[in-house]
């Protein structure tokens, strides 16, 4: 019997736009434009997309960090806390703060900004732990954190140095250890491996997988590198112009990519042993302020038809774990 996984984070018609006022004119960037996600516990969910597609904004929104000029225009965001589903867009600031780090934590892209440069690394840990755990449990948590650092292959002395003395890769790994220190149920990573050397990147991916396996929690990770997704994600969502256009398990996405954009993303990656000419996606990513009508990919799509220009396709559940929003796929099914 296959155990049904529980949904731990859910969004409904989520819309979060940037509203910018400059010298009298208003510009609206539709960064998260009608996103429906169901993310299960004990899985690694990858979000893939180019820069400017809104993926960072989506992460911020999922983390419930919606501050001006970003505004929540519509939709809902639910976390499953314990056995209840909570609409977290409506909770108080204090409740939000409690959830951070204990329930859900964030791994940003630039690791240096996480640390206070004048405190040693153990100071950063003490700060986080201190603001969430009551006095008598702090010592325990601190020791647990220390132990985890060692388990994850980081050297003992990492606690006693200043952040700038660590290399970029080391800092990133310490940031991840910090994010995991309070055993959060959800960890969100914004391009956590992007600026790193390839061997260090492998180590970081390894570390994330180890943490997920130990804590059995959920990791939501954004990166434009499909190779990284192939190595770490269980399911992948492809994002384009503020919308999710395809979602499936990792195996299916790579074996049967259906959306033309997904196909481009996968086929444009160079493979060893294959020097044949590869094409990258034509054109450039659309502006979120002035997105194209209908399906946002239509200006760059080699198979564009009339309806693509007029209407945004709904999701087509092609398989149990595979859905795609594309007019062509619908036709294939019915044609």
């Amino acid at each position: 019997m296959v155990e049904e996984k529980q949904i731990i984070l859910r969004t409904e018609y989520l819309k979060a736009f940037y509203v910018l006022e400059m010298q009298g004119t208003q510009k609206v960037a539709k960064a998260v434009n009608n996103v429906d996600l169901q993310i299960y516990e004990n899985e690694i969910y990858g979000i893939a997309g180019e820069s400017g597609c809104g993926k960072t904004t989506l992460l911020k929104t999922l983390f419930n960090e919606i501050v001006p000029p970003l505004r929540l225009i519509d939709g809902k965001l639910y976390y499953r806390i314990g056995s209840d589903e909570v609409d977290v867009t409506r909770i108080s600031a204090e409740e939000k703060r409690k959830l951070r780090m204990e329930y859900i934590s964030f791994i940003p892209q630039g690791s240096m900004s996480v640390f206070n440069p004048v405190l040693k690394v153990k100071g950063a840990f003490a700060d986080f732990i201190g603001s969430h755990i009551s006095e008598h449990k702090r010592g325990e948590t601190f020791d647990l954190a220390r132990k985890r650092i060692l388990e994850l292959g980081l050297p003992q002395n990492v606690f006693d140095v200043y952040p700038h003395q660590l290399s970029g890769g080391m800092r990133q790994r310490v940031t991840i250890a910090l994010a995991a220190s309070l055993n959060p149920r959800i960890m969100i990573g914004d391009e956590p491996t992007t600026a790193l050397d390839v061997v260090v990147q492998r180590g970081v991916i390894q570390m994330l997988k180890d943490i997920q396996r130990d804590l059995k929690n959920t990791i939501i990770m954004v990166t434009h590198d499909m190779g990284v997704h192939a190595n770490i994600a269980d399911r992948i969502g492809i994002m384009y112009a503020g919308k999710i256009v395809e979602e499936a398990t990792t195996e299916r996405i790579f074996a049967h990519p259906l959306h033309p954009y997904t196909r481009f993303l996968i086929n444009s990656l160079p493979k060893f042993g294959d020097k044949r000419m590869r094409d990258s996606c034509p054109g450039s990513p659309p502006s979120l302020i002035d997105p194209p009508s209908g399906c946002p990919f239509h200006p760059r799509c080699p198979h564009v038809t009339d309806i693509c220009r007029q209407q945004m396709p709904d999701f087509n559940q092609v398989d149990k774990d595979h859905k795609v929003a594309c007019w062509l796929v619908g036709e294939e099914q019915h044609g």
């Binding site: 292959g153 050397d197 991916i205 434009h224 990284v228 990656l269 160079p270 020097k275 990258s280």
Partner: protein, 324 residues
Amino acid sequence: MDKLLEVNNLVKQYSQGNVIARITLTAVDHVSFYIKPAEIFTLAGESGCGKTTTAKLVLGFEGATSGTILHNGKKQTRSEKAWITKGVQAIFQDPFSAFNPLRTVDSYFHETVRNFRLARSKQEAIARIDQKLRLVGLTYQEFAGKYPNEFSGGQLQRISIARALVTDPQLLIADEPVSMVDASLRMSIANLFKQLRDELGVSILYITHDLATAYYVSDRIAIMFRGNIVEMGTVEEVLMNPRHPYSKLLRDSIPQADPKKRWTTTVTLAELEQEEYLRQGCKFAGRCPDVMEICKSVVPTESYVDNVLVKCHKYSEAQVSSAS
């Protein structure tokens, strides 16, 4: 054989520290290689291996501590600006910071034309600039009068390449040109490099840590580690059949876009970079899965295995034992 660029025993040392404790870091440690005309040569390695420093030395942005650099057989003197005298140009990693945000992008092109005296009138200048822009897939119309923030990262990088081509250089140094561009758009720039080599006969010194695009685009490759070239040869030999343990590690650590090819082994990462720099003997000895006693004390010599240069005791011993 004609060598467009020849680098011999290049050394660059930096001293760090203060009056009380000074250490000398050898960023580039007796590096030698050459580039032929119409060839794409890659210097690959992770951060801190010395590849960017080597590029700066070849360009003339900095002076070498020792060693020689020859452009078309002519020696480059210490403070010589190779982009003015030796027909070398360069593009850099971050397309957005390559242009002053307060200036229009085309002003750099016109400046290059003026400074190198490449046109006698404004019409001629625009014609030349337009020609170079078309090589990278843009036209003068859509680019004139615009500021850097009006272009995307991919476009700006192509504009950088166009600017570098204005002076008709024979050698283009590209320092991590695709690492800040989205993975899906990298191919367009890689394809552009191939085109430049095939249609214009331009050679490219391609510096990167991304072995996948290096495989796709280059003819020959040198893998650098902490200032040394540890393996060098054709890209087929070096990347499909890596010999040096570090090359193997580097190649295996590239995430493949195929979930069936996930990593099965784990890696140990270097603890502190400075330690590795200051090692006696082979700098990789601390992490090498095939380390031997000799590696910790003696610097490996260069040996050739199937026309591939390898700097590793495994191969020098093999040479010795196979010869005896």
